[in-house]
Amino acid sequence: MTLPDQPSDFMRVLLGRSAVRDFTPEAIDPEVLRRLLDAMIAAPSAGNVQAWAFVAVQDPRTLKLLRAFAPGIIQPAPLIVAACFDRSRAVKDDGEFWDEGLLCVAMAVENLLLAAHSEGLGGCPVASFRRDSVQEILELPKHLEPIILASIGHPARPLASPPRRDRSEVIRHETWGNRDAAHN
């Protein structure tokens, strides 16, 4: 198999995404929204349990309330998706706080953000918010715990990525003791 020397469109989407925190007021097209949400729930999940639940919010009043209780949302967005862990479907049996299901919620949010980017939109995952207030605003039952609020919309400024740690610092091959940079 010969590998293409140009990155595929998908790789361009992966490598071109960055957090978008400033949005134009333009609403999200309903058909685009449907595609984003489909991409979100296409994410992998431990044991295919899909211990997640999502609330897509576009109502201006609810958006204002959510932002007021979420210091991590910097600018108003036309769409906020609350990604929740469904504790009633926890992967583990012991009812501990930590559960693989939390990782699955994160994977779904990453799918959502990449899908948004591929549609010319942008978004930011936000973990700085008051959980019990969001629970109340969205009328979430107790077993649905909001984990991430993803604010999404049309970017109001050019995308810019913050620097990454050097790949040689965070990636090694075969064993951690192997500092051979040949692969890097």
Partner: protein, 115 residues
């Protein structure tokens, strides 16, 4: 802006709503700081200053130097998260703010501040 180029003044109700939401934001920041990394504290204050300027501008503030400062705050908050020296940046902003305010007619000479 309206198509004719005139600035639409918000109603008192709109400004009041923004202020109430800002107060809510501030209280949530205050509580959140007990759980969040300490380094977030200055960032939350900086962002609250930015949000306050935005409301003031909506309410009619027209001051080029203050608008420049607000734009720098926007760039910081909405741009990529980089770990440059925040205390230097804040020193710079406070100095710029003092210069702007000394020469600005935003501050009236009448009366004293009331708590």
């Amino acid at each position: 802006m309206k198509p004719g180029g005139t600035v639409t003044q918000p109603t008192t109700e709109e400004v009041t709503e923004e202020l109430v939401l800002l107060a809510t934001h501030l209280l949530n920041c205050a509580r959140g700081l007990f759980n969040e990394p300490q380094a977030y504290g200055p960032i939350r204050c900086l962002d609250a200053a930015r949000r306050t300027f935005i409301i003031a501008e909506k309410a009619g503030l027209r001051d080029e130097r203050l608008a420049d400062i607000r734009a720098r705050l926007d760039d910081f908050m909405c741009g990529p998260m980089e770990y440059h020296d925040l205390s230097d940046f804040l020193d710079e902003l406070c100095a710029a703010l003092l210069t702007a305010l000394k020469g600005s007619d935003v501050l009236s000479s009448a009366g004293g501040e009331r708590g």
